[in-house]
C-alpha cells in the first residue's frame, strides 16, 4: 500500500535503454538499495559486485537473494563484475564497500577513473590502523577529487519496502550534492545537503558503537530511561571525538547525527544493535557476527574509537565500555556497573561550542 503511495512514477521510459551515467560499486544490502532507489527514479544504473553469480542473479531475476531476499529490484539496474565497464562512461559513482575493503576497491579504481568524474561513498567506517576516513582513502588512491559522502538514518530493508526516509549528502562541491541529489531524491527519499564531510563521515561511523551498547541495553531490559541516557550521552561522546577530529559540532544534531543514532539504537533491524543484543545474551563476538551474515561496522569502529580517544586524551566511558565488552570479553553487566558509578560530567560539553577549525586540510591535523 505504502509503496504505491510513495513510489515515483517511472521516469525511466525514455532513458531505460541508454547507457547508465551512474554506477553503484558494491552490491551488499545498502549498495543494492541505493542502486534500486536510483533505478526507481528512472535512471539506468550500473551495479558492480565482485561475484559473477550475484551479477547473473540480479540481471536474470532482478533479485539479490543474499542481502535483500524477496525484493523485486528495479529493472533499470544492470549488474556487472567488470569494474571498468561499470565506471567507464559514468559521471558519478557511489562507493558502498565495507570499510576494510574500501582501499582495495579504490586501488582497482585508480587507473579507471578521470578527473571529471564524481565519487560519493556511503560507507560508515574508518580504516583500521591508519584511522583514515573513507574520503581520505578515496583521495589517496584515485584522482576523484570531486567527492562526497552519503549518510543518514537509512535501514535498507525499510527503504526497500518503500517507506519514507531522509538522508544527508555532504560535500564541499555544490555540484556533487546537486548531482547525487538528482539521482536519489524521490517522494520516498528526502536528501539534505551538508558541507561538513568530516562530521557526516564520523557521525555515521561512531553511532554504530553506541548502537552496540543500545542492543545490549535492550537485551538486558534496562528500560527506556536508560536507553535515552545512552543515546544522549553517546551523542555527546561522538560529538566530542568528532570535533577533535575537525567536525562541525552542529552536524551531530542533524539527520546524519542524532537522526542516524536514534534509528540505529531503536531499530531491532540495525546490524550493530543485533550484535550488541547477542553479546548481552552471552554469545561470543564470532557467533554474533556469524549469525548476522553481514559486516557490523561498529565492531571495528569501537576499536578505532578506543585508540583515537586514547591518543587524543578524550574521556569516552561509553565507547570504551563497548570496546571492552566487544574486544576484551568484559561482561556487559560489569561494564554497565562501571558506567553507572563513574564520575558525571557537565550535561553540555563546553568544548562543543568551539566551531570546527575551518583551516586547511580535511579536518585531520
Amino acid at each position: 500500500m505504502l509503496e504505491q503511495v510513495l513510489a515515483q512514477p517511472g521516469r525511466a521510459a525514455e532513458v531505460s535503454g541508454s547507457t547508465p551515467k551512474v554506477a553503484v560499486l558494491g552490491a551488499g544490502n545498502w549498495g543494492t538499495t541505493v542502486a534500486h532507489l536510483i533505478g526507481l527514479n528512472g535512471f539506468p544504473v550500473w551495479l558492480w559486485a565482485r561475484s559473477a553469480e550475484l551479477c547473473s542473479e540480479i540481471n536474470a531475476t532482478h533479485q539479490n537473494s543474499r542481502y535483500l531476499a524477496g525484493l523485486a529490484l528495479s529493472p533499470n539496474i544492470r549488474a556487472t563484475d567488470d569494474l571498468e565497464q561499470a565506471v567507464r562512461d559514468v559521471d558519478l559513482m557511489f562507493l558502498v564497500i565495507p570499510s576494510q575493503g574500501f582501499r582495495s576497491v579504490c586501488c582497482d579504481l585508480g587507473p579507471l577513473v578521470r578527473p571529471q568524474q564524481i565519487g560519493v561513498h556511503a560507507t560508515k567506517g574508518l580504516e583500521l590502523g591508519s584511522h583514515k576516513r573513507m574520503s581520505e582513502i578515496l583521495l589517496e588512491e584515485t584522482c576523484l577529487r570531486q567527492h562526497g559522502v552519503l549518510s543518514g538514518p537509512n535501514i535498507a530493508r525499510e527503504i526497500c519496502e518503500g517507506k519514507p526516509a531522509g538522508t544527508v549528502m555532504a560535500s564541499h562541491f555544490p555540484r556533487v550534492i546537486q548531482r547525487a541529489t538528482e539521482l536519489l531524491r524521490s517522494k520516498q527519499m528526502r536528501v539534505y545537503a551538508n558541507t561538513d564531510v568530516v562530521g557526516v563521515e564520523l557521525a555515521g561511523t561512531l553511532k554504530n558503537i553506541i548502537a552496540i551498547a543500545a542492543g545490549m541495553a535492550t537485551e538486558m531490559k534496562l528500560g527506556d530511561n536508560a536507553k535515552s541516557l545512552l543515546i544522549t550521552r553517546g551523542l555527546s561522546e561522538i560529538a566530542r571525538l568528532g570535533v577533535a577530529l575537525g567536525a562541525d559540532p552542529m552536524t551531530f544534531s542533524g539527520v546524519a547525527g542524532i537522526g542516524d543514532l536514534l534509528v540505529t539504537c531503536a531499530s531491532p533491524l540495525s546490524r550493530n544493535n543485533r550484535v550488541g543484543a547477542a553479546l548481552a545474551r552471552g554469545e561470543s563476538l564470532d557467533q554474533a557476527i556469524a549469525a548476522l551474515g553481514m559486516v557490523a561496522e561498529g565492531v571495528k569502529a569501537a576499536k578505532i574509537a578506543y585508540e583515537l580517544t586514547n591518543t587524543l586524551g578524550l574521556r569516552s566511558p561509553l565507547m570504551h565500555g563497548v570496546y571492552k565488552v566487544v574486544h576484551e570479553q568484559l561482561d556487559p553487566r560489569v561494564a554497565l556497573r562501571e558506567l553507572m558509578t563513574g564520575a558525571t560530567q557537565d550535561d553540555i560539553d563546553p568544548s562543543l561550542f568551539q566551531p570546527a577549525d575551518s583551516g586547511p586540510g580535511r579536518g585531520r591535523p
Binding site: 559521471d91 585508480g110 587507473p111 578521470r114 578527473p115 571529471q116 583521495l139 589517496e140 588512491e141 584515485t142 584522482c143 577529487r145 570531486q146 564541499h172 562541491f173 555544490p174 555540484r175 583551516g359 586547511p360 586540510g361
Partner: protein, 559 residues
C-alpha cells in the same frame, strides 16, 4: 618582464573585467557606497600630506556626484575608481602626489615608471652582486666597509629540482610560492631566479616596503606591484586579485608570498591566504576558455631558510604581543636601519653561514603534482588532465565554490612542501634543545610565564644540553633520510662537539645579546624570546615529543 605598454593593457583589462562583474543597478550603487565608506575610514586615520589630500578630494568629489548622476554615469565613476586602484597596484603611484585633474575633475594618480630593465640588470647581473649594488648604491661609503662588501651569491645555497623550473617555464606560467621569514626574501629570491637563468618575476609587495628608505626604489624597479594592506575595500581586493590573474594570463610569471606576511613566530607557515593563491586556477581556467597556447600555470613551493634572521627580535615581539593587538604593519624594524644590515651581513659572511633556498615539488594550479614536462599526476603518479576538474558534461564551467575547494587543496600541498623542504640550521637545533629542557623543567607554566621565568642567569649544564642535542640530532637525521625535513651541512653531519661550537658561534654573531652563550661548563640563555623564535622553526613536527606551541592565529601573520 612587462613593459609599460603591457602594464597599461593589464590595467585596462582588469578595469573592464571588474566593471563588468559588478554589473548595474543596486549592486553598482552599493559597491560605490562601500568604497566610499572604506576609503573614508582609511583616509581619516592618515595625516595631511599631499597624497592623502588628493585622495580625500577624489572621494569627496565622488561622494558629491554619486546621488546626482545617471546609472550610466555611475558606471563611469566605478570605472574611475577601479582604474585608479589598478594603476596604483601596477605602478606604485601611491608614493606621488595626484598629478592634477583628469576627465571630470577627478585627480589622477601619477603613473610610476614601472619596471626598469636597466635597474634590474644592474642589480642582478652587472658588477657586484645584488645586495652590494643595492646597499652601496644607497649609501656609498659609510654603509659598509670595503672588505665587508658582500659576496652574497656565495652564501646562497640553491637546491631542489631547479631544472624543472626552466622546463616548466617553457610550458606555462610560473607562480613561485615561497615561505616568508624576512624582508630579505624577495631580494634573495630575485637573485636566485636570475642565477638560475629564469626571467624576472613580478610580485606583489606590501606598500610599506616601497616606502622603505633602503630598498624602496629598488623594489619598484624590479617590477613589483604594490599591495596596500590598509585598504579594506572589497573592491580593492577584487582589483588586486584580478591584476594578479590577468598578469598570469599575459604569461607573466609571478612571485607571491602566499602567507601574506612574514612569519611572526619563526615557525613554518600553517595557513596561507587563499585569495591570491586562487588566482592561479582562475588564470588557468581563463586560458583554457580562451584557448590560449600554454594555458597551464605551475605553482612552485619554495623555502628560504636563514641561520639568523635580520628582523627576528621585532617579529617575535610582535607575535608575543597579543595577536589581536599585533601591529598590523611593521614599518620601523631592523629592515630599515642600515647598522642592522651591516651587522647582519658581516655576521653572515664572517661565519660562512649559508642561506638555503629549496624548490619543492611543482604543482598545477589545482594542487596536483606535476612532472618536469608539465604533466599533472594523480596521487599514485598516473598522468591526468587537470582541465577535467573544471569540466561539466565535457564543457569548462565556472564554479567559484568548487575552485575555492581546489585552492584549499593547493594550500594544503604547498604547506606540506614547506614543512618537508624546511632547512634546519644549527641555531634552530640548539634553541630547540635548550628550550625543551627549560620547558620540561617547568611543565606547569604557560608559554608567557615560561618565557618570563627565563631570567638573565638562566643556565643549563653543558652535558645535559649535549645529551638532549644528541637525541634531537639523531631524530632529525633519521627524518632527513626519509625526506621529511632538510638539514644544513652542520646539522646533517657534524659531530656533537663541533656542532655545539658552530651553533654557539652563530648565536654570538648578530643579535645584541647572544641567544645562547657558553660560560665554563654552562650555557646561559641571553634572550628567551629569541630562543623561542629560533626554536619555532622546529615547532609542529612533534620532534622529541614536544607539543606544538605556535597555534595558527588568524591575523597574526601580516606585513
Amino acid at each position: 618582464m612587462l613593459d609599460a605598454e603591457r602594464i597599461a593593457q593589464i590595467v585596462a583589462e582588469v578595469t573592464s573585467r571588474i566593471v563588468a562583474r559588478v554589473g548595474e543597478g543596486q549592486a553598482l550603487t552599493e559597491t560605490l557606497n562601500e568604497t566610499l565608506w572604506w576609503e573614508h575610514e582609511r583616509l581619516a586615520k592618515l595625516g595631511d600630506d599631499d597624497q592623502t589630500l588628493a585622495e580625500r578630494e577624489f572621494y569627496s568629489d565622488l561622494r558629491r556626484q554619486l546621488p546626482r548622476v545617471s546609472e550610466r554615469e555611475q558606471v563611469r565613476l566605478l570605472q574611475q575608481v577601479v582604474h585608479r586602484y589598478a594603476e596604483e597596484i601596477a605602478g606604485h603611484g601611491a608614493g606621488g602626489p595626484g598629478s592634477g585633474p583628469q576627465g571630470h575633475g577627478l585627480p589622477r594618480l601619477r603613473r610610476a615608471p614601472g619596471f626598469s630593465p636597466t635597474a634590474y640588470k644592474l642589480a642582478t647581473r652587472v658588477g657586484p652582486p645584488l645586495l652590494s649594488t643595492l646597499l652601496t648604491g644607497l649609501s656609498p661609503r659609510r654603509l659598509l666597509d670595503r672588505e665587508a662588501i658582500p659576496k652574497l651569491d656565495q652564501h646562497l645555497r640553491i637546491a631542489g629540482d631547479v631544472h624543472a623550473l626552466t622546463r616548466l617555464h617553457e610550458r606555462g606560467t610560473l607562480v613561485l610560492a615561497p615561505t616568508h621569514t624576512s624582508n630579505l626574501d624577495s631580494l634573495v629570491l630575485g637573485f636566485a631566479i636570475d642565477k638560475l637563468g629564469l626571467p624576472p618575476l613580478t610580485y606583489g609587495a606590501a606598500l610599506n616596503l616601497f616606502g622603505n628608505p633602503l630598498i624602496g626604489r629598488f623594489m619598484a624597479n624590479l617590477g613589483g606591484y604594490t599591495v596596500d594592506r590598509r585598504k579594506h575595500d572589497p573592491l580593492y581586493k577584487q582589483t588586486l586579485k584580478e591584476y594578479a590573474t590577468v598578469s598570469l594570463e599575459f604569461g607573466q610569471s609571478n612571485l607571491y608570498f602566499p602567507a601574506g606576511g612574514r612569519s611572526r613566530s619563526g615557525a613554518i607557515e600553517r595557513r596561507l591566504k587563499k585569495g591570491l593563491l586562487g588566482c592561479s586556477s582562475a588564470a588557468f581556467r581563463n586560458n583554457l576558455v580562451h584557448g590560449r597556447a600554454n594555458p597551464r600555470v605551475f605553482v612552485i613551493p619554495c623555502t628560504i631558510s636563514y641561520p639568523l634572521v635580520l628582523e627576528a627580535s621585532t617579529l617575535i615581539d610582535d607575535w608575543l604581543a597579543d595577536a589581536g593587538k599585533a601591529r598590523y604593519i611593521i614599518v620601523d624594524d631592523e629592515f630599515s636601519r642600515w647598522e642592522r644590515w651591516r651587522d647582519y651581513l658581516r655576521g653572515l659572511l664572517s661565519l660562512d653561514l649559508d642561506i638555503h633556498i629549496r624548490f619543492g615539488q611543482p604543482l598545477d594550479s589545482l594542487g596536483n603534482p606535476v612532472d618536469d614536462e608539465g604533466v599533472s599526476h594523480d596521487p599514485r603518479g598516473r598522468p591526468i588532465d587537470p582541465a577535467g576538474y573544471l569540466e561539466v558534461d565535457g564543457k569548462l564551467c565556472e564554479d567559484p565554490v568548487r575552485d575555492a575547494e581546489y585552492t584549499r587543496e593547493l594550500e594544503r600541498r604547498i604547506l606540506a612542501e614547506f614543512r618537508r623542504e624546511n632547512v634546519i640550521h644549527s641555531t634552530h637545533v640548539l634553541a630547540f634543545a635548550c628550550f625543551e629542557l627549560v620547558r620540561r623543567r617547568r611543565p606547569e607554566l604557560d608559554l608567557y610565564r615560561l618565557l618570563g621565568s627565563i631570567g638573565n642567569e638562566q643556565s643549563l649544564g653543558l652535558p645535559e644540553v649535549e645529551d638532549e642535542l644528541a637525541l634531537v640530532l639523531a631524530e632529525l637525521r633519521e627524518w632527513a633520510r626519509h625526506d621529511r625535513i632538510r638539514l644544513s651541512d652542520t646539522v646533517a653531519s657534524a659531530e656533537l662537539g663541533e656542532f655545539v661550537r658552530a651553533a654557539l658561534r652563530n648565536f654570538g654573531t648578530y643579535h645584541h645579546r647572544p641567544v645562547v652563550e657558553r660560560r665554563g661548563i654552562r650555557l646561559h640563555i641571553g634572550d628567551a624570546k629569541l630562543l623561542f623564535y629560533y626554536r619555532n622553526r622546529l615547532d609542529g613536527y612533534g620532534l622529541r615529543g614536544a607539543p606544538t606551541l605556535v597555534h595558527d592565529r588568524r591575523g597574526a601573520n601580516h606585513a
